[in-house]
């Protein structure tokens, strides 16, 4: 069994940034395992631009952004194996993988960074009635067909859900001569970025139908149309009499992303219900000592730039853990989601160990105007952020908090992050 200091599972943006950071922090015995044929993860099929504004101060395409990190990995001579699927991770950090060349391998890792990304929610998860015909694709699958394989999944398209991949595909399919008839969203707001609504729907006169859903899929062999209906804002149930038939040959689904944590669970990692990713502390360490997590496997991000930043911190922490410079931890203080806050990360902090600001990230539960992010310690407000013009579930919110704020409080029972909205 090969011993590895830092083993990184996943060679997408999170895994690459974690590896680069771990190497720079002095770890030479590290390895990236990537299931696809190439490094870069899902960015390889994201050929649109808009990546890197935060990280590099310039606008890159997905493959260009990934290449920046792949180049760093190559320059730093960080070893990696592609076409390598991890089959299991044990609680004592034995990782079993297969690939066609090396066959079945087992590694004993001192630290692991989980960077497996996420998957798309399928139709089945929604229970949309109708035929189970060809022509129903998750937006990411369609994106792969178009951008990597060069094939079109259809001509007349309806998109259910307004996640970013769906929005991007609305524009991409339009570029390829498709008629994108509508983007149908169950919620009263989009779950995608504002800029994508503007640049991918509005610019091409594609209607965004909020408070609507698909209630029937027609077509025995191939989709011939869908029936959509308005939903009740509270119950989300279709309102009888509002049904409309839309003729189409393709239904794309962009109805949410689910962190891929089957390996994490197998290793004994606890997941948070709201993020569906691991519960981590300020160093992105999970409840299993030496197992860290970053990127979309931890929580679904909006911008890859933040994935890289987060993963770099996780990679550095993993390096410190291997070198023994992360002190023995207490149980830590729980971080709770207060009003308007969904999917807080980290969920635990160790005030006594903090050396740098804690970056809290979360999704607003709803659309809020003029909301402030506030932090309470044991019910007492200790921080009140500046008001935000607008906050929405499609855009990640974050707040960095000075560690001194926690240290000077002494014994802390819990920390709450919440939004305050003026009445």
């Amino acid at each position: 069994m090969r011993e590895i200091d830092v083993l990184i599972i996943g060679g997408g943006p999170a895994g690459l940034a974690a590896a680069v950071a771990a190497k720079k922090a002095g770890i030479d015995n590290l390895l990236i395992l990537e299931r696809e044929e190439h490094l870069g993860g899902i960015l390889r099929q994201c050929i649109h631009n808009g990546f890197g504004l935060q990280a590099f101060g310039e606008e890159l395409t997905g493959p260009e952004y990934a290449q920046r990190y792949i180049d760093m990995v190559e320059e730093l001579k960080i070893p990696y194996q592609c076409e390598t699927m991890v089959l299991s991770v044990s609680n004592d950090k034995v990782v079993t993988s297969i690939n066609p060349k090396e066959g079945l391998q087992q590694f004993k890792a001192k630290a692991i960074v989980l960077a497996m990304g996420c998957r798309e929610r399928p139709r089945g998860a929604l229970g949309i009635p109708g035929w189970r015909c060809a022509g129903i694709f998750s937006a990411g699958t369609a994106q792969r067909f178009v951008n990597l394989e060069g094939y079109m999944p259809g001509k007349k398209v309806v998109i259910l859900g307004s996640g970013d991949i769906g929005l991007i595909m609305a524009r991409r399919m339009t570029f390829e001569g498709c008629e994108v008839k509508a983007c149908v969203e169950l919620m009263p707001f989009s779950s995608g970025l504002k800029r994508n609504i503007v640049q991918c729907l509005d610019d091409y006169n594609i209607p965004l139908l909020l408070n609507h859903t698909v209630v029937d899929i027609h077509g025995k062999d191939r989709v011939t149309g869908v029936t959509i209906a308005e939903v009740d804002r509270q119950t989300k149930k279709p309102i009888p009499g509002t049904e409309q038939y839309i003729e189409c040959d393709t239904l794309l689904l962009s109805v949410g992303l689910i962190p891929e944590n089957e390996l994490s669970v197998g290793a004994g990692v606890s997941l948070a219900r709201s993020t569906q990713g691991p519960v981590v502390d300020e160093t992105y360490q999970t409840n299993v000592e030496g197992i860290f997590a970053a990127g979309n496997v931890l929580h679904v991000h909006d911008l890859v730039d933040f994935v890289s930043e987060e993963a770099a911190r996780a990679g550095e922490a993993a390096a410190k853990f291997v070198k023994g410079s992360i002190a023995k931890k207490s149980d830590g203080v729980p971080v709770e989601e207060g009003f308007g806050v969904n999917g807080i990360v980290p969920q635990i902090i160790h005030p006594e160990l903090l050396t740098e600001p804690v970056k809290f990230m979360f999704r607003p539960r709803d659309v809020y105007k003029g909301a402030r992010i506030c932090v309470d310690i044991d019910g007492e407000e200790v921080l009140r952020g500046k008001p935000h013009m607008i906050m929405a579930p499609g855009e990640m919110a974050s707040l960095s908090v000075d560690p001194e704020l926690f240290k000077k409080k002494g014994d802390i029972g819990k920390v709450t992050v919440r939004l305050e909205v003026r009445a």
């Binding site: 299931r35 060349k101 066959g103 079945l104 399928p122 089945g124 189970r132 060809a134 062999d221 891929e260």
Partner: protein, 482 residues
């Protein structure tokens, strides 16, 4: 002149084909679809090997069910398809008349069902800690089991081919007529085939062929059943298949894990007009949820991975049609085989094969090979076996379906076999690629590529399930052509 033509390659047709393959006979199976096991009944049912308490004593359903059930152990071992005797429970809930359980018990005794007990709430909760709070007692059926119906059918068909049976897929039968003491089977293509014996295993359409040649007419009435599927994370939620005690309000919705760990909730029972209408409906799915939640109080709706509907070929007289109509000798019906048809299939096949053998004076083959090797299931192998397999063929070192851990090697093997997969769903039924929690999101492009590589297809020719179900509409950059 053929000895036997079997119409239909569902579980019944393939069971009979494999049984006839043991004899020195020239057997041809005709199937209108491009794969076996694709009908609304074989492909999409509850996948249960029933104990046999349910059917009315004296019926063919009761007889073949109780005879078929114990045949599964040997069959599954010989043909390497998944089968688990996980037991069944019929559960009575608060407010139900417990007499109902005793009535079923009595019926089971009359049908000859072994290993039945009525168990009290304490015992029930010990067996099934997750059973709903209103559960009060149950009938336990030790012989109840679960099976993979399409894998079983594919295994039967492959073994039949191995032993000399011929299959013609994409071959629709238009009519059957008698001529000079034999039968003429006319295909939709116009071609006519002569045969001594016809076996009618046409599932939903078995009434059509029977009614062409016999005055004993019946109708097959399609009855649709809708299901939810829960991710295999919950495979251990229940050990047994959990039925609900039928009441005047309905037959109840069951909760059953499949041999692959997915948990099924369903089915509904709605009579419909169209024999092909496998749509799911909002009302049907809601009904499943409502009733299943009695058995499983906190159904993990967040972990639903899919829904589907199957069609049961309900015979108008309520019982199976097995055997020759007295006015059409050498025409054997295996028709109207609705539930418990899957369980009954081996016994029905045994009888039909016996009758045909007697009629044609057929000899047993000396070199019949009863064994069929399954496609290796990478997900179920030990690490040593995995390493060995990859060393032999590196394609087994490449995972195509992440959710179900299916390798490229398995997919290639599924395509290369006799009666091999020709489309996405056929690959799925043989390997489970695409059946997991992402429902083929990741593996679809890769399975398409493998199908193209193996079969010399262009990606635009690859279908989901044959016919007009092409996945892709063309190359990119061809917008002017539209």
């Amino acid at each position: 002149m053929r000895d036997v033509i079997i119409i239909g390659a569902g579980v019944i047709g393939c069971s009979i084909a494999r049984e006839l393959a043991k004899r020195e006979l020239d057997v041809l199976v005709l199937e209108r679809k491009d794969d076996v096991a694709t009908g609304g009944c074989t492909k999409a049912n509850t996948a249960i090997v029933h104990a046999g308490y349910d059917a009315k004593p004296g019926t063919k359903k009761a007889y073949y069910n109780v005879r078929g059930n114990p045949m599964f152990d040997q069959l599954a071992a010989d043909l390497e398809f998944p089968f688990i005797r996980n037991t069944s429970l019929v559960v009575a809930f608060e407010g139900d008349d417990l007499q109902g359980l005793y009535d079923l018990f009595t019926r089971g005794v009359k049908n000859g069902v072994p290993d039945m007990q009525i168990i009290d709430e304490t015992t029930l909760r010990k067996l099934e800690p997750n059973i709903g709070t209103k559960a009060r007692a149950a009938l336990r059926l030790g012989t109840g089991g679960i099976v993979c119906p399409y894998e079983m059918t594919i295994a039967l068909a492959e073994n039949a081919v191995e032993n000399g049976v011929e299959f013609r897929l994409l071959t629709q039968v238009e009519s059957v007529r008698p001529e000079d003491g034999h039968w003429v089977v006319k295909l939709a293509s116009g071609e006519e085939l002569k045969t001594r014996i016809v076996v009618n295993a046409a599932g939903m359409y078995s009434d059509v062929f029977n009614n062409m040649i016999s005055s004993h007419k019946f109708e097959i009435l399609p009855r649709r059943g809708e299901y939810y599927m829960v991710d295999k994370t919950f495979k251990d939620a229940f050990n047994a298949t959990i039925f609900q005690l039928p009441t005047d309000k309905g037959k109840g919705i069951l909760v059953s894990r499949t041999v692959d760990g997915t948990v099924l909730l369903g089915p509904t029972a709605n009579d419909i007009d169209d024999k092909e209408d496998t749509r799911t409906t909002a009302a049907g799915l809601a009904e499943v949820l409502e009733h299943a939640s009695m058995t499983w109080n906190n159904i993990p709706t967040r972990n639903f991975i899919g829904t589907f509907a199957g069609i049961r070929p309900r015979p108008s007289n309520g019982d199976f049609w097995v055997g020759e109509p007295d006015d059409a000798p050498n025409f054997f019906n295996a028709a109207g085989i609705e539930s418990p048809g899957l369980t009954s299939a081996p016994a029905i096949a045994e009888d039909i094969a016996k009758w045909i053998t007697e009629r044609l004076n057929a000899k047993m083959k000396e070199n019949f090979n009863p064994k069929r090797k399954a496609i290796p299931k990478f997900r179920e192998l030990s690490n040593e076996e995995r390493a060995e397999l990859i060393a032999k063929d590196p394609a087994y070192g490449r995972i195509v379906c992440r959710c179900e851990t299916v390798t490229e090697g398995e997919i290639r093997e599924a395509i290369r076999r006799p009666l091999g997969a020709r489309n996405l769903d056929a690959v799925k039924r043989r390997t489970r690629a695409g059946m997991g929690r992402c429902q083929a999101g990741f593996c679809t492009p890769r399975v398409v590529a493998i199908l193209c590589d193996e079969l010399g297809l262009d990606p635009t020719e690859v279908t989901k399930f044959g016919g007009e179900s092409a996945l892709l509409t063309g190359r990119i950059g061809n917008r002017k052509e539209d």
